[in-house]
């Protein structure tokens, strides 16, 4: 299908997980991709590009650290010079690390999470804005922790709430140019960010070496729908809707993709 025909999309955090899924799904709808990630993730990023090209679309890869504004500027410039335009920004990169009670959280851990998850989004939008067409779309990946808090996630929840404030401000500022700005709030997504021993241990402090199954039961209990997590494709489909012209009058909204987590009452 061609819901994004002739549109150029920049995706940060494109090497793996959700970012790769966004790239492939958007390419299936005929978008051209500027795929950005850290130099360290080079091999994975090239695989994302390979998957995009397999869908018959062009993909330019660029290395940047969203914490370094100048590196984002360079990445965006490379993409725009390749494709000649920019229609959609997907600010996807994020980390979920150093989980601990807020009063034990290290200064460096707090700062790193805010630098990547909040300042990184601002840098991404700031670097890309000069090139974004009127009528474009900005999609920022937040989290259910951007709507409600959670234990051991003070830094993460603060960063994910903060991007909602950023998005609401951008929506007001850019509305006159027809540019839409929305946030997507996934619950637990089946990516390496969630599926690792650290997270399992936090979910099941009662067990010595909790398995994925032990942890997934805890996650499923948080959702209305009987699933432990959503898949990256589910988030990508929401991104697609917000990126495409079919949502031309949707702006300033918070779209949750969370199997009902944020509305579930125990």
């Amino acid at each position: 299908m061609s819901r994004l025909a002739d549109k150029v999309v920049i995706v940060t955090g494109a090497a793996r997980g959700m970012g790769r899924s966004h790239c492939v799904r958007l390419a299936q709808e005929q978008a051209e991709l500027i795929a950005v990630d850290l130099a360290d993730a080079s091999a994975d990023l090239e695989h994302t590009a390979h998957l995009v090209r397999a869908e018959g679309q062009r993909c330019l890869t660029a290395h940047a650290d969203v914490r370094e504004y100048s590196s984002m500027e360079v990445a965006v410039a490379a993409g725009v010079s390749e494709f000649g335009q920019l229609d959609v920004i997907v600010a996807n990169v994020g980390i979920y690390a150093d989980l601990s009670p807020s009063w034990e959280l290290a200064e460096a851990a707090w700062r790193r999470t805010l630098d990547v998850n909040l300042t990184g989004v601002w840098h991404t939008v700031k670097a890309a804005m000069p090139h974004l067409v009127d009528g474009g779309s900005i999609v920022i990946i937040s989290s259910t922790n951007g709507i409600k808090g959670g234990a051991n996630t003070a830094h993460y929840s603060a960063s994910k709430h903060a991007v909602v404030g950023l998005a609401r401000t951008l929506a007001n500022e850019l509305g006159p140019r027809g540019i839409r700005v929305n946030t997507v709030h996934p619950g637990a997504v089946a990516t390496p960010m969630i599926r690792n021993a650290d997270v399992y241990a936090k979910l099941r402090p009662d067990l010595e070496n909790p398995s994925e199954q032990d942890a997934s039961a805890m996650l499923a209990a948080k959702n209305m729908l009987p699933v432990p997590w959503v898949d990256p494709i589910d988030v990508s489909n929401a991104v697609l809707y917000l990126a495409a012209d079919e949502s031309r009058y949707v702006t300033g909204s918070q779209l949750v993709v969370d199997a009902g987590l944020t509305q579930k009452v125990p």
């Binding site: 609401r168 509305g175 729908l225 009987p226 702006t251 909204s253 949750v256 969370d258 579930k264």
Partner: protein, 236 residues
């Protein structure tokens, strides 16, 4: 293949406006439609009433889009008649997968100056009518073990508006109903969400596109969501 290929969608208020746009958009993506409308004036409503000719035009547009349609002239306030029509539509197409509870009216007046009649009719159509619709359709979705309900609210379901206290109350009430239904039906894999339009700025097709997304399997893990389609009105 369409995004709701071979699904059956119930749409109330299908004769015109948002309901017609939803029915046609879903039909374009492969759905068959059970179309319901009162096709008559509603006392106290300031919006002009739909007619049988309007519903016939919706039927024509659905068929032109490649869908099948079963249309019934029913008032969503008439629970027994509504259930009978929904059951008949489900029998015709072999079940129901999607529910668009869209029938609604508009009227205005300062909250404390509204007559009992204006207040009550608004609640009966815009809130209780949505409840009756979901109630009539629920057995079919639960029997299927999957489905998606889209309740049409408006920006008045998210914020207050001067001069429409009854409309705002009903719109907010729909959100409470939606959240409760989402919770009750989640174990049956039935999702329930609301869409919030700002009628003054968006066109029916925009709400229909949001409906299509929520109705399709692309949104399989999206439930209990209030999705604004309002050109940013609710955040301004």
């Amino acid at each position: 293949m369409g995004r709701v290929y071979r699904k059956v969608a119930l749409v109330t208020g299908a004769a015109r406006g948002i309901g017609r746009a939803q029915a046609v958009r879903l039909a374009q993506e492969g759905a068959d439609i059970v179309a319901i409308d009162i096709c008559a004036p509603v006392r106290t409503a300031e919006s002009p009433s739909a007619t049988t000719a309007d519903l016939a035009e919706t039927e024509r547009l659905i068929e032109a889009a490649g869908g099948r349609v079963a249309a019934y002239i029913v008032d969503v306030r008439a629970a027994a008649a509504l259930s009978a029509a929904v059951d008949a539509g489900a029998a015709r197409f072999g079940g129901i997968d999607i529910v668009c509870a869209t029938a609604g009216i508009a009227s205005s007046g300062a909250a404390c100056d509204l007559s009992e009649d204006v207040w009550q009719t608004m609640l009966d159509v815009n809130l209780t009518g949505v409840w009756q619709t979901s109630k009539a359709a629920a057995p079919h979705l639960l029997a299927r073990g999957s489905g998606s309900m889209i309740l049409t609210s408006s920006v008045a379901g998210m914020r207050g508006l001067a001069g429409a206290g009854h409309y705002v109350s009903a719109g907010h009430g729909v959100v409470g109903l939606m959240r409760s239904l989402a919770k009750e039906f989640a174990v049956h894999n039935v999702r329930v969400n609301s869409v919030h339009s700002s009628e003054t700025v968006v066109e029916p097709v925009d709400i229909a596109n949001a409906t299509l997304f929520l109705a399709s399997d692309e949104a399989r893990y999206i439930t209990a969501v209030t999705l604004p389609v309002d050109a940013g009105n609710s955040q301004q």
